[in-house]
Each structure stands twice: as structure tokens, then as C-alpha cells.
């Protein structure tokens, strides 16, 4: 390994902090010529004023410090101010609503976990404790219980919107696949969470559910043995379901939600399929997505942006 001399980083390479330019008259170092009536400014500067100035700049400096190291401001402003296509309507809120339902589940789940005991002997009484003694315990427990129904409904509505709008087609195929995996993981959460209250209903339903898995060809018996974690449904089953419900699946869901949303931002949300673009006469700019693959340079799209031209017999064309 050749050793490199330690280079001194020139000041010009260091990105400038996100510092607000000082307002004339408010101190700082005014650039250019100061107006005549500001001549006295340096004299007014006391130690207190300086402290105040530093205090005022501190949040901006801190942001600048963080941004120099994360270089995230470009991405964040790009994400926040990216345009959503024309025609975007309330159907397009179903995905974020599902995410929000998941956040409610995660939050209420954390609070339930503070009081829940995943043991066959204590699970039932710890739920009774949550319901009857913990302040707002029944509310949080109820939100977690009914939140799962709301989340499942929202997932199906979101999936229906994606299906009927043809939003799973090119170039968003992979995001559909991720979404279906998220649906399966959510159903796994519902199945494993159902046993945790350990009442009669959840106990017997889980036995049937595990037996159903057991009827599968080849892997079925192994799957049901794995889920049951013993000859009978009992303490080991409960802790296994608890671990799957608390650690394994939530981790996978969070990771896949991240991938799902990354692709949403990267590829953009679809427009409703019946919203038609008025076709420009000049060749439209090639999307960045495909620019490389097609070998076409980017054309400046501003020309067509201001004055759209009427469609030219594209009625039957694919949207």
C-alpha cells in the first residue's frame, strides 16, 4: 500500500455554510460600501450585541455544519419541492395514509410493549393490567387492535387504486412487487399479533391457523412445527410469535417501506390515466430516467412548458 501525503484541504473546496447574508445595519460585515448613516454601527457593538448575533446565527450555523457533513439539503429540497403530476387527487393519499396507520401501530405497539409480558402465564394478566390500570391503557390497546383493521383496509384501497389506474406498469413494476411483499408482511403481523392477548379466541384461532399452514405440501409440516415451537401451542409459541411480531417483521416492513418510498420519490407518482398531456409540437424532452438508454440528449423542455400545443391525434395512444 503506497502511503499518500496528508493533503491540506484548500479553503475553496470546503462548501460554504448555509449562512444568511447579514442585513445592512444589523451588524456583521457588510459587503460593499456601507451607507453613510451606518457609519456608527461599529461603535454600537457591545459584547452583548455580539453574543446576540452569535445566538441568532447559531441555528443556521448548526444547520450548515450538519449539511456540510450529510449533504442532504439538496435531496430534501428536491423531495419536498418535486412536482407531482397534473391531476393528482385524493386517491393518491391512500399510500401515505397507510404509512401513517403503520406509524400509529408502531407507536402504540411500543407503549404496549412497555407493559406486556410475553409469557403464557402472565400474558393474559398483563393485558388485563393494561386495560384496567395503566392510564389510557385501554385506549392505546384499542388503537393498536383497531388500527390493524384500518391499516389492512387502507392497504387494500391503495392496492386497488394502483391496480385500476394501471400504476404498476412500466417503470414502476418493482414498486408493485415491494408493495405486495409489504401486504404479505402486514398479514403476518396480523396473524402473529392475534395470539398475543392469549385469550380463548386468539388461542384457538392460532391453533387452526398453524394447522392450516401445516397442510401445505412439502414445507407445510415444517412451517407449522416452526410456528408452534413445540408439540402443543404454549409458552414457546407465544414467545416465538412475540419475537416475529416485535422484531423480525417490523424490521423488514420498515426497510421495505423505505425502499417503497425511495422508488416513489425517484420515479414520481403516476397521473390518473385519463389525464392527457397536451402534446407539444416539438419533440418533448426525454426523461432523465431513460436518457442514457436511448442515447438522446436532453432537450430544453421550457419551450413547451409555457404554451402547450393541442393534441395531435394521440387520442388512442397509450398513456
Amino acid at each position: 500500500m503506497p502511503s499518500f501525503p496528508k493533503p491540506k484541504i484548500p479553503d475553496a473546496v470546503v462548501p460554504p455554510p448555509l449562512r444568511k447574508p447579514g442585513k445592512p445595519g444589523s451588524g456583521g460585515t457588510p459587503k460593499g460600501q456601507a451607507p453613510a448613516d451606518l457609519k456608527e454601527t461599529p461603535e454600537r457593538k457591545s459584547a452583548g450585541d455580539k453574543m446576540l448575533e452569535v445566538g441568532k446565527e447559531a441555528p443556521i450555523d448548526a444547520l450548515g455544519w450538519v449539511d456540510q457533513r450529510l449533504a442532504a439539503s439538496g435531496f430534501l429540497t428536491g423531495m419536498l419541492f418535486r412536482k407531482v403530476p397534473k391531476g393528482t387527487n385524493w386517491f393518491y393519499t391512500l399510500g401515505s395514509a397507510t404509512l401513517f396507520a403503520f406509524i400509529v401501530q408502531a407507536t402504540t405497539g411500543v407503549f404496549l410493549a412497555m407493559f406486556y409480558t410475553p409469557s403464557a402465564t402472565q400474558a393474559y394478566s398483563s393485558i388485563a393490567h393494561i386495560n384496567n390500570e395503566v392510564p389510557l391503557g385501554q385506549l392505546v390497546h384499542g388503537m393498536h387492535k383497531w388500527g390493524s383493521s384500518v391499516m389492512v383496509i387502507l392497504i387494500f384501497l391503495h392496492m386497488g387504486r394502483t391496480f385500476f389506474f394501471g400504476a404498476y406498469k412500466y417503470p414502476r413494476e418493482l414498486n408493485w412487487v415491494i408493495g405486495v411483499v409489504l401486504l404479505i408482511l402486514t398479514m403476518t403481523m396480523a396473524f402473529t399479533g392475534y395470539l398475543l392477548p392469549f385469550d380463548q379466541r386468539s388461542f384457538w384461532a392460532s391453533i387452526v391457523g398453524i394447522n392450516i399452514n401445516g397442510t401445505g405440501p412439502v414445507v407445510g409440516p415444517y412451517l407449522s412445527d416452526f410456528l408452534r415451537a413445540g408439540p402443543e401451542l404454549g409458552a414457546t409459541t407465544l414467545s416465538r410469535f412475540y419475537a416475529i411480531h416485535m422484531l423480525l417483521v417490523p424490521g423488514a416492513i420498515i426497510a421495505l417501506i423505505g425502499a417503497h418510498m425511495y422508488l416513489v420519490v425517484k420515479l414520481g407518482t403516476t397521473a390518473p390515466p385519463w389525464v392527457k398531456a397536451e402534446r407539444p409540437k416539438v419533440a418533448a424532452p426525454v426523461s432523465q430516467l431513460d436518457a442514457g438508454a436511448n442515447g438522446n440528449g436532453r432537450v430544453n423542455g421550457n419551450r413547451v412548458n409555457g404554451a402547450p400545443v393541442d393534441g395531435e391525434g394521440n387520442g388512442g395512444s397509450a398513456l
Binding site: F100, M143, W204, V208, N211, S287, A318
Partner: protein
């Protein structure tokens, strides 16, 4: 989708996007309103419907009817539609797995450029039929009762066994005379003509297929139950 279709879509999309509004604040506003509605609905459901506990899980008491959460009803009800024992794996694993694979691979076999639902008759029809089928199965599951009474007239010596059958939740999955759900389990009305008494006891204790095991029932109750069922021919 041909390369020129892809190209056309991307151009069209780029154009629609140019004419759109920025995500913040327009889409963020709608998303936030929706998020508030979601939380309000969840809190309202929690307050109104609560989170009551059932009786504590008890392997020795089988009086409880196994019911899944409502959004699994459509899977559960498939078992009632498909009853022959040799076809059970098709209902439990086969059909759901095939449906999931079909769903997962949807973008890879539906590759046409058309996106408007009214111009994709096959996809739209399939989607609507799927929704109706799932809604119907969910409805069946929701209305399927959990009877705990056997209205059959039996002689006195089988009365005790009849009570065990009624109390142990057999009717959740088995039809018996006028009572019980017809499936997922086989009908019990003439069970003795099909299997002998020993096999009935073995089934109760082992729980073949998806049936839970009832071996925790007291031996005397199992005897009474077997007496009753083996009288039904």
C-alpha cells in the same frame, strides 16, 4: 410494452409532471388531512369498540369457537367452499399461494401500455370479480354463526355426549343435523356410517388436518362424545 411505448409514456409523464404542482405544500396538505382522518377514525374505533379481553386461553376448555380476525375470513371461508378432505391443501395453501404469486407477478404478465381501466377490460373485470369474491367470502365469514346448541332429538343415554359436542365448539366447523356450520370439517349427521367409534376418538384426540386436538377434554367426556357420535348412522 414496446420501447417506443415506454419512450412515449416517459415523455407524456415528464410533461404532466411539468404542469403539476409542487409536492410541498399541495400534496403534503392532502396527505396531512388524510393522516388526521386516519388517526381520528382509529381513536374513535378504540373509544367506541374498545379492546375487551375474552376469557383466558385454556387448552383444557374447548368451548371457544376458533375465529380469525375478520380480514382473514375470506381465507377461512375458502375451506368451507372446498370441502373434500383430499382437496383441503388446495384451499388452505394452494389457492392463496397461487393468488399471491399472480398478484406479485402482475406487472410482468400484464405488460400492455394501456392504463385506463375502461380500456383494459380483462384486468378491470378480473379485479372487480376478485373484490366481489373476497367481499362475499368475508360476508359469509362474518355471518357464519357459532352455534352451541344441538337441536337433535336423541335418546337419554346419548344426552351427555350431545352436550359435550354442543359445548366443545364442534359446530363451528361441522354440520350436525340442522345445526352447525357446513365446513371446513365434514358433516357429522351420519358420521357413524362412515367411520367407527375408535376412529372418532382418534380424530378428537389427534386433530387431523386443520382440526385442533381436543385431547385435553376429560376422558369421560371424550367417551360420552364418542358414544353420541357413533350412534349417528
Amino acid at each position: 410494452m414496446k420501447p417506443q411505448d415506454k419512450q412515449k409514456y416517459l415523455e407524456e409523464y415528464e410533461f404532466l409532471k411539468k404542469k403539476g404542482k409542487p409536492f410541498f405544500p399541495y400534496a403534503v396538505m392532502k396527505d396531512s388531512v388524510m393522516a388526521l382522518i386516519v388517526v381520528a377514525v382509529i381513536i374513535a374505533m378504540s373509544v367506541i369498540l374498545g379492546a375487551e379481553q375474552g376469557p383466558k386461553a385454556d387448552p383444557t376448555s374447548t368451548t371457544y369457537v376458533p375465529r380469525p380476525e375478520w380480514y382473514f375470513f375470506f381465507l377461512f371461508e375458502l375451506l368451507r367452499v372446498i370441502k373434500p378432505p383430499e382437496l383441503v391443501p388446495i384451499a388452505t395453501i394452494g389457492i392463496p399461494t397461487i393468488c399471491m404469486v399472480l398478484l406479485l407477478l402482475l406487472p410482468f404478465y400484464d405488460r400492455g401500455p394501456e392504463r385506463r381501466p375502461e380500456r383494459r377490460p380483462i384486468a378491470t373485470t378480473a379485479g372487480i370479480i376478485t373484490i366481489i369474491a373476497m367481499a362475499y367470502l368475508t360476508y359469509l365469514g362474518a355471518t357464519g354463526g357459532a352455534p352451541t346448541e344441538v337441536e337433535m332429538q336423541v335418546s337419554k343415554k346419548y344426552e351427555a355426549g350431545k352436550e359435550v359436542v354442543a359445548g366443545a365448539g364442534c359446530l363451528a366447523c361441522h354440520k350436525l343435523g340442522e345445526n352447525g356450520n357446513n365446513g371446513p370439517g365434514p358433516e357429522l349427521t351420519h358420521i357413524a356410517s362412515r367411520i367407527p367409534r375408535a376412529a372418532i376418538i382418534r380424530s378428537v384426540e389427534i386433530g387431523p388436518g386443520i382440526m385442533p386436538s381436543f385431547r385435553e377434554l376429560p376422558p369421560q367426556k371424550i367417551e360420552q362424545l364418542a358414544d353420541f357420535l357413533s350412534s349417528l348412522d
